[in-house]
Amino acid sequence: MAMNYNAKDEVDGGPPCAPGGTAKTRRPDNTAFKQQRLPAWQPILTAGTVLPIFFIIGLIFIPIGIGIFVTSNNIREIEIDYTGTEPSSPCNKCLSPDVTPCFCTINFTLEKSFEGNVFMYYGLSNFYQNHRRYVKSRDDSQLNGDSSALLNPSKECEPYRRNEDKPIAPCGAIANSMFNDTLELFLIGNDSYPIPIALKKKGIAWWTDKNVKFRNPPGGDNLEERFKGTTKPVNWLKPVYMLDSDPDNNGFINEDFIVWMRTAALPTFRKLYRLIERKNDLHPTLPAGRYSLNVTYNYPVHYFDGRKRMILSTISWMGGKNPFLGIAYIAVGSISFLLGVVLLVINHKYRNSSNTADITI
């Protein structure tokens, strides 16, 4: 009759206890893990234990901040707004859509010479390149030279996918809205004869973009043939295969285009336009003096209250001029230090009472 009991027991979820089996108990293993006795570091957060952390943070951050700040301050940077919304601006005339092409020249002076490589940026403000539908409006396969995507671009490109029954190459809103001002820089010497400054077009895009992501469609030598059957984006003046004379910088692998296609994160952004390479160690790349910026003004931004800027900047180990990071480091470091002091006071004040608590225990 004990059989019935056994059965009953087993029903209840117990392991079957074979009468002839070995002594197998359900005793749990006595391991540190199973018994929740794992050795552990048990930090206790009190003023006394934490205040070193605050001081250490302060001591580390403030020097870093100072370093960054100094580095950032050493960077030369000049920014020239050529939107032309102010009536006084030479580019003011270009605001009207009738003047095409419109050229304007802006003169500026560099107080100090720019050493080393100088980066020339164009900056746009209030330009929402990060808008969701804008960001999506491209076809990476097409840009990668996929021939089928070339002629049949992705639906994401709508409504800049086809124009007059021809596929647009490159399709999409991003490409369509490509920045197409031309900026030229002249050093106005003493003899008032402007010397053009050599602007390097290549090397401004990411290497991977230029060599991996962006490719011209396959085909014959002639780029125009390769893009046969496509049409230029609506806003473009020239088709994509006429962006540059250099075949290595034309079509989809035009670096200006590639740079533009890398959508900016924030509505105020700059994009690398040209490089001004240092010629030799003796002369500064851009000596102090008067310069003029010749703009072929094609790109209308004033409709949407945008701004256009040209930026010349040297770079340091940490990139372009960025005063914020240094200040932030100093600020965080100081605050941390300050809190550390507060904790020190508190610790001092409450140590006695915590001692008494100790005693009562």
């Binding site: 009953k8 029903v11 206890c17 960054i68 330009f127 929402y128 969701r132 994401e156």
Partner: protein, 1499 residues
Amino acid sequence: MEREPAGTEEPRPPGRRRRREGRTRTVRSNLLPPPGAEDPAAGAAKGERRRRRGCAQHLADNRLKTTKYTLLSFLPKNLFEQFHRPANVYFVFIALLNFVPAVNAFQPGLALAPVLFILAITAFRDLWEDYSRHRSDHKINHLGCLVFSREEKKYVNRFWKEIHVGDFVRLRCNEIFPADILLLSSSDPDGLCHIETANLDGETNLKRRQVVRGFSELVSEFNPLTFTSVIECEKPNNDLSRFRGCIIHDNGKKAGLYKENLLLRGCTLRNTDAVVGIVIYAGHETKALLNNSGPRYKRSKLERQMNCDVLWCVLLLVCMSLFSAVGHGLWIWRYQEKKSLFYVPKSDGSSLSPVTAAVYSFLTMIIVLQVLIPISLYVSIEIVKACQVYFINQDMQLYDEETDSQLQCRALNITEDLGQIQYIFSDKTGTLTENKMVFRRCTVSGVEYSHDANAQRLARYQEADSEEEEVVPRGGSVSQRGSIGSHQSVRVVHRTQSTKSHRRTGSRAEAKRASMLSKHTAFSSPMEKDITPDPKLLEKVSECDKSLAVARHQEHLLAHLSPELSDVFDFFIALTICNTVVVTSPDQPRTKVRVRFELKSPVKTIEDFLRRFTPSCLTSGCSSIGSLAANKSSHKLGSSFPSTPSSDGMLLRLEERLGQPTSAIASNSYSSQADNWASELAQEQESERELRYEAESPDEAALVYAARAYNCVLVERLHDQVSVELPHLGRLTFELLHTLGFDSVRKRMSVVIRHPLTDEINVYTKGADSVVMDLLQPCSSVDARGRHQKKIRSKTQNYLNLYAAEGLRTLCIAKRVLSKEEYACWLQSHLEAESSLENSEELLFQSAIRLETNLHLLGATGIEDRLQDGVPETISKLRQAGLQIWVLTGDKQETAVNIAYACKLLDHDEEVITLNATSQEACAALLDQCLRYVQSRGLQRAPEKTKGKVSMRFSSLCPPSASTASGRRPSLVIDGRSLAYALEKNLEDKFLFLAKQCRSVLCCRSTPLQKSMVVKLVRSKLKAMTLAIGDGANDVSMIQVADVGVGISGQEGMQAVMASDFAVPKFRYLERLLILHGHWCYSRLANMVLYFFYKNTMFVGLLFWFQFFCGFSASAMIDQWYLIFFNLLFSSLPPLVTGVLDRDVPANVLLTNPQLYKSGQNMEEYRPRTFWFNMADATFQSLVCFSIPYLAYYDSNVDLFTWGTPIVTIALLTFLLHLGIETKTWTWLNWITCGFSVLLFFTVALIYNASCATCYPPSNPYWTMQALLGDPVFYLTCLMTPVAALLPRLFFRSLQGSVFPTQLQLARQLTRKSPRRCSAPKETFAQGRLPKDSGTEHSSGRTVKTSVPLSQPSWHTQQPVCSLEASGEPSTVDMSMPLREHTLLEGLSALSPMSSAPGEAVLRSPGGCPEESKVRAASTGRVTPLSSLFSLPTFSLLNWISSWSLVSRLGSVLQFSRTEQLADGQAGRGVPVQPHSGRSGLQGPDHRLLIGASSRRSQ
């Protein structure tokens, strides 16, 4: 089988009616051809078919099916169930939203992935659970039993599931009934069988069942083929205690069916070789299963709270989305007309209206911000809970060596509820106690026999175990420890033997035997049986025995003995026979020992009676004895059999006959016995050692075993005779004239026997001391004998007090010698009472009272009701942890109260409010009274408290106890009947309020339903977290209703375990389960939930802030892959590990400081406040984590996703550091997972960013991470941002740790600082200097101490007598008061002259020392004199008389009696007994009794 009477073939109007009403079911034998079939041969097959069909249609067969799914239905059904969870619907909705092109934010397939993942996990778990259910069902369904087969004309083995209604089932001894069966035949000649209902209600005693009347007379064996009767009975219902129906025989005769005829599924057949019955209810229609309503889906409190916060998150999400949508609308409105180069028109070239754009944006925002609703939270919680369950299961200290079982978590989703329990509802029998009673000591005729050897023996059982047992600090005084501790481990030994031998074949034979015994006999562990007799007493017994044996044939036998010896003799006879113990022999397990005397064969006819009983009638000269038979037979069948007309007629005839003296029928039983006796002695003695006793209550068995130790052996009990064997006298057979069974009202039982030696009619009464002492023969103080008697009584009373103080259950044994005339007269009236149709119960009661008066006190016994290991310690720990413990027991009040004292649930120095009401109105009035009393106490206490200067601290906190923050809250004892009234709608609030004020509540005599109602009430009305713990099926409903149900495994019944969420081997494991694991689980999960909310809010915050810079276009700078998998992959593991392993306070500190548990009760870890604080912090952190990269990259040539990736990295680092701040214990796993997370993120990012140049539009992440890794600014921002974001939190935490630490933090700090002192006593904690200090337990203790001296002066001024009490001398105040009085105060003042009539009774104004007074309230029903007698165990006769007029008018009594305040500590605790004896001389027995009762509480 059931055939609904209105079959299709034979429309029978009455049957149709019945069917419509649906009240009855008709059962016929399956072996018969169905009634509608004309041709029996054809009908057989047809009937078989129809039967099967019929069963399928109407009746459940015996198959048990608790699974939810089948293979086919699993997927749809499970999905359907999963979609009941709103979160799942939400997530699927979001994922599907992605398929709408206009609003999609992510690649649709990608968005579905997490949802599918989660659904799959849940589905898998459900599948597994269902499979294990299926397995257990399968096992039960395939148990075998013998079913009569028509084809083979014999019983064949069938599976349980193949049994149908109408089948005949034959069961052998110790088999379990597969269905509800009507008993038709038993191997027992009396047509009885015994069953054990442990599986149903946890009671291990045997219950008698009776063959259906009409079948019991069958001489030959029952043949199912000849069974042609039809059974009509109730529809299946879940009332275990009721069954009505009738059986209609072929000849049209009807016989009633009662509960006594039904064998319930799950019970075990005992003590009977075999029974045959017909199945009435099968499968899910059996009463056992109907009682098992399916388990409620439990959702933990934390989860409810979390869901509420999830709703807040949803609201937040909607707000953010709305805000975004409006922003986007405005943006569109602003830019679309302006030829913005970046404006993208609709695909057809037309421009979007701002409103449409806003709507789209809203939906897209919801998709993008969906992370706010933590989908990973649900998965993580499931995982964490599973791990918590694993750890609880694996805890070695919850493993019970003896039963080889560890704690089982059966519910996977409520582990954290364990940390928030406020109320514990406990069963008593088998939960607090082991349901094993041991005879400890006794006093006979005023002489105490301390049984030291016995105590030593019990101590040895203890020692055997104590080596293994871990050292648990034990509270209490030494004497208490001795008495409680001594019995704790005895079961251990017994258990080990039983289970191990059960499992190992090669184990010792002895152990095997022990296991056999324990399996088959209730209440008979070696510890209970082997009682070491006291040498002195043993000597006396044998002396009596010898002298009686010598003088056995002389006249006036007992006169040869000294009064003391005769008392000793009678005492043991009473112990042996005054019970209902059934004797069994182990050779044939649990079969009745039957030594058949010709004369003692079952009484069949009236002539038989007369033949047997007239001789004694003759000698007695009384004429009514013969009718004894009638009453006896009805006794045997139980009171639920109504007296039938035939028996009335018989009575009449009897009385006629008895009128005329008949003289000739001689040959009485004793002589024949004496002849047989010698020859039988030899064989009997062989088996004598092996006899075992089956008792209805364990204390009966304990007494019988005790008597056996004194060689006074009960060898046989039949329904009309009891045989006792003595070494010298040999077998004595007592004719059992009458048994007045135990009932809770009389609190005693009596047997009327005819003494074989003296031929006298004796009444032996055994009962609660409170009752029996009242019923003693008043002894005149004139003659020496009377004085001697008085002395004996007072001595006995003293010993009784002593026993009670030791926590022993006391019983008084008394005797009365009836003259034949007296007996005859009594019998006459008793028979009348029995035969009376209306209020026969009351008449019987009165008749019993008439018999049980003028008793002669023999002695008293002290029985130890053995508590389980460590119960008092556990209870006191749980109390310290702020848990309120209620005991709900089906047991009688005294037992319950006794146990409650023993396990420290009730304290001797606290007051006890006893609620015994017999009517609704009385109950209401009583409740009002008690409430007013308690409230008035609270009011008076208030000023005292402020004086005591301790009050402010704890009155403000600890909400459940705030209203009654007094030092000693009263305890409430309520019986089942009053409970039923109190649970009525109109009274429940009052009851609850009263109960809430009480420290502990004891509900006696409560039914399973009441238990669950109480739990439900507390749960719903007090909104408290409840835990129910029990071991029997009677606790199942309570276990199911409570928030957390705990079953005690290891006991025999497994129903409680099956219904429970957690199964523990013993009660004491509850402490560790709650205080340690509960706390950990709660704090871990609470912290993890908070962390997840923080994490998601913070993450979503980043996205939201970005909307301000992208025209609210729902653009995301974070790659969609990161967005979707961030929560699942990169940031999920470390919080999981912390959630599983974090130990906020080390185990030993938690266990030594149970009050830390209160943090869980008060939800300190996870409150709405904490939640919002957390959300605010998350907002701040996200703002920092957004703005620093924003400013750092402002006006740079960074592209969208090259800027977004650092933000993700920063977020990840911030999350990990945040977790680091919140993690209390860092194990290597924490380190590894944190490192792993970071590593995983970078690895995945690098691989992902290198994998495909043109894939994953629009983010186009190719080479992003690689480029970033070469950028110093990336490192600089990633270093600074997390630090800046977390500075405030770190600062706040350290400030909190120093300036205003919580209890838990303090505990942590202290362990750190002084690891050696981590086991310091808990008081220090409670006195912590924190405002949050919730250690009320200790503080309250202090209040009391301060308040008492404060209030003392006022007593002196008011009542000089109070000084007596203050110095510790006990006195009593008894007041009886009418309930009609409106307030207690009025009542007291109105009654004061009356109640001060007894010289020493003192009335104090209630303002004096209210906390010491004890309220005993009782109200009587219709028959006031009766109920007032039994309602108060400590009732004082004088007061009773003085208040008689009031009582009888109002029908209720409220009695206040003061217990002395020894506990105040000034007076010695151990000497409460002595003062009484001196004082009680004036008062008489009644007063002494009262003092005795109250002094018991002083311990």
